[in-house]
């Protein structure tokens, strides 16, 4: 296996064979891509068979429909359901049977072939050139960090890593600002590295460009070293996940998601929320925070401590949470009939809530768009924003 958890189709062959051996289809049940398209080849079991066919030379990458390669949102519900994975002792990217991993490998082969959708190509090119998928100027990020008055030079023991969507996506920027306000008021000493903070590589590897992914990893590790970083607080679960499970060389850096930090600050009395928020709300579990990293309780514990909030659970929550679609290419390319965000919005609507809380900038973006599309009168806010509203 190459560095930073990159694996080839050949290396993944055993997991694919294991899927074929069983073919029970448990993975299909809550696959949002399959639920939308209802064709076997976009199901996790199907993707594994498609990838195995490619490995065995049954066809070339160009013969695989784009829909098959790009429908998966990477939510990893398939991994969670898969019986083959239940008793795996050594659960690695190479051994875990996963439609999402098979898809990432197919996308990597697609990128290598040079024949990719122009929308994907543009995103990858932006990440490579500017360190963010929007093609935003690095100066904008530096200016924003300066405006926020955050230390961004020299050694930074505790790094707030807001990710590549900030400050280019307006909603993600607002969440980051809320997070900063809360951390400051709670007396947390932290720093940022401005435009030196490039995409963590999560977008690049999801879209299949392992070359750019490795560039990002190399750059970020260098920055962490240069600034003597000992702890990273992540805004995005996707960055949190990739630092923890993909990067080589993070052994001496403690990585936390900000909801974990909030929970600690509340428990130690440094965050005291007094302003009432009299709303009925539900919490949407981000796939990469919950199912992938088992962080279910912290965001809920934080929300429960906000006075006035009535917290209700979605039917599909925690490990069963239904993906909003943000973890895949849906932000960058629209696939007809793959409407995970709208499906999730409908599920939320059933609860008759005033507000849905998220803890991921991608979920925020997807669900806000979905609520608008459906004309549902349901607010979408990040946990950080709600805490600020009550605390600051």
């Amino acid at each position: 296996m190459a560095k930073n958890n990159i694996i080839t189709l050949e290396e993944y062959g055993k997991a694919l064979e294991n899927c074929l051996s069983c073919s029970c289809g448990l993975c299909n049940k809550d696959c949002p891509a399959y639920n939308g398209l209802k064709v076997g080849s976009v199901s996790p079991r199907g993707i594994a068979q498609v990838a195995l066919g490619l490995l065995k030379g049954e066809y070339t990458i160009s013969e695989i429909p784009d829909e098959v390669i790009y429908a998966c949102s990477g939510c990893r519900a398939c991994e969670w359901y898969c019986g083959e994975n239940v008793f795996l002792i050594d659960k690695t990217r190479k051994s875990v049977v996963s439609g999402a991993t098979a898809t990432e490998i197919l996308r990597a082969i697609k990128v290598e072939s040079g024949n990719i959708d122009p929308r994907i190509r543009d995103v990858l090119s932006n990440i490579m050139k500017f360190g963010n998928p929007y093609g935003g100027s690095p100066r904008v990020k530096d200016d924003w960090v300066n405006t926020m008055g955050i230390k961004n030079e020299g050694s930074i023991d505790k790094l707030l890593y807001v990710g590549s969507f900030v400050p280019y996506d307006e909603d993600a920027k607002k969440v980051a600002e809320a997070l900063i306000d809360v951390l400051k008021k709670a007396g947390v000493e932290f720093g940022m590295i401005g435009s030196q903070e490039m995409d963590s590589g999560s977008q690049a590897i999801m879209l299949g460009d392992e070359g750019i992914y490795e560039e990002m990893v190399e750059h970020n590790l260098e920055m962490f070293k240069e600034h003597k970083v000992n702890q990273i607080i992540c805004l995005s679960p996707h960055d949190y996940d990739i630092f923890l499970h993909y990067y080589d060389g993070m052994e001496n850096i403690e990585v936390k998601h900000y909801t974990q930090v909030f929970k600690e600050l509340i428990d130690s009395g440094k965050i005291k929320m007094e302003e009432k928020i009299n709303k009925k709300i539900t919490y949407h579990d981000s796939c990469y925070l919950g199912r992938r990293n088992n962080i279910y309780e912290e965001p809920r514990d934080v929300l429960k401590r906000i006075p006035g909030i009535e917290l209700v659970e979605l039917e599909l929550s925690r490990g069963n949470s239904y993906c909003c679609g943000g973890g895949g290419p849906a932000l960058w390319m629209d696939l007809p009939n793959v409407k995970m965000d709208l499906t999730r919005a409908d599920q939320i609507k059933e609860l008759d809530v005033d507000l849905v809380a998220v803890a991921c900038p991608l979920c925020l973006q997807m669900l806000k768009g979905a609520m608008d599309s459906r004309s549902y009168d349901i607010e979408v806010k990040d946990v950080a924003q709600l805490v600020r509203d009550s605390f600051c």
Binding site: N18, C24, V39, G40, V50, Y59, V68, E84, F87
Partner: protein, 508 residues
Amino acid sequence: MVSEKEISELKESIGESNVFTDKPTRMCYTVTHGPECLLHENYLDVFLPDAVVTPTSTEDVQEIVKFADKYEVPLVPSGGRSGTYGAEGMRGGITVDMKKMDKILELDEKDYRITGEAGVNMMELISYLIKRGFMPTDYPGSEEICTLGSRPAVNGYGYWENRWGPAGSSIYKIQVVLPDGSVIDVGRGSNKPTKSSTGWNLMDLFIGSRGTLGIITRVTEKFTEYPPAEYYGDSAFKTFEEGIEAYLELKRSKYSNNIWRVSCSVDEESYSKQTIGKSWPKEIAMVVHYSILGFKHEVDAMKDIAEEVVKKHNGFDAPEVTEITSWWDDHSREWKGLYKKVNVSLGIASDVFSKHIKADGYSARPIFLDPNIPDSRLVEWHARFRKHCYDMEDKNIYPNLASCTIARDIGRVLPGVSGFNKTWGTIHVYRKNMDSKKFRAEFLDWYRKYVEIIFDCGGAIATTHSWIPRELEVELMERNMGKAAYELMKKIKKTIDPKNIMNPKIIF
């Protein structure tokens, strides 16, 4: 081969987005959860369909069938593909994936009937009922994946079979597109979801027909109210004989039908996994578990009776075994993940028992064996079956099988129709270093002997999973049914499907 010109015609009639001819998509319709495909080295030569179609309505299905009739193209209906026999693809054929027909059409709360399209996912249907205070009488082990249309098509096993019978017993009415493109609605003797003694019970002709007579497009099933009380019990036994006798007595439940489910576990690994990682003490040969549902006073009374039965047969508590106290909790969405992990070992993918992953990291293809054995011969059957299964692991008897198989969960028992039992065993086949020709030769010899034991004990082949190795199928079907009955079945098939286009690769 279906030609491009013919495919264009099909695209025109049901829409381009519902016809797939690319090889990657077709690949996904070769294999099912069944063993047949993967026991052939070149399975794609046999099982890769020429096209896949995804109808969205009964009218679409009619168009597809008319097309198949016109060009004499075989059709293979497909639901959740969690079944073990029948939905494999077919070279030269078209697979009809019913998953896009996924609407629940009607809930009749007064008559306790629910009607849906064939592609409705069973878990969706179950959740839909449970949310409204009802429960299905047909609760499949593969509910996460399987479809409503597949339930009558395969006459599947039901979780509550001791109370409500197999899937077919819960079906009130089905809609079928026949091989000539016509549509029929059939109940039991009429076209309504009821019984009538004026005509034949035509619906039962299609129950278990696995797509060989037509394509089921719509199903009306019964449901019932959520029982107010329940009890789950389990007891351990030092000998199989004692365990089986206790099981049989519990199954019969005296004069009551409040024991909805009773079953025996025989394999430490399988049971421990069912109960989330608890170990099984060495002195235990068998664990019998049972679920009692009904009014509280009924459940309390039956619990006392059950405990007496257990005591009479020297059953004892298994303190290290975790009780799953609420099956209803397990069935709810909130518990789905846990239930899935339990359910995996209960039915759908019992290949996940520990040790199924060999040291080289490769896992196994499961072969499910589930003959139906009468109560009166169950103890005898159990001993003979277990010995025969473990013979497979003896390299002096079956050198090739021994090198690539593991027998697991051999002799689990669940109730079947009155007086019979679905008995269970799983053979795990490691395909990695398997010589498929030698494997098949030895396996067929083993299978013949296995069938002789079934017949000798007065039983029948395959309660639910239906699979018989392809080379033996006709011969053993004739024996299982009787030659005259099998010939009659052939005549009926020929009358309804004269061009033999409906799933022709199986049964005949």
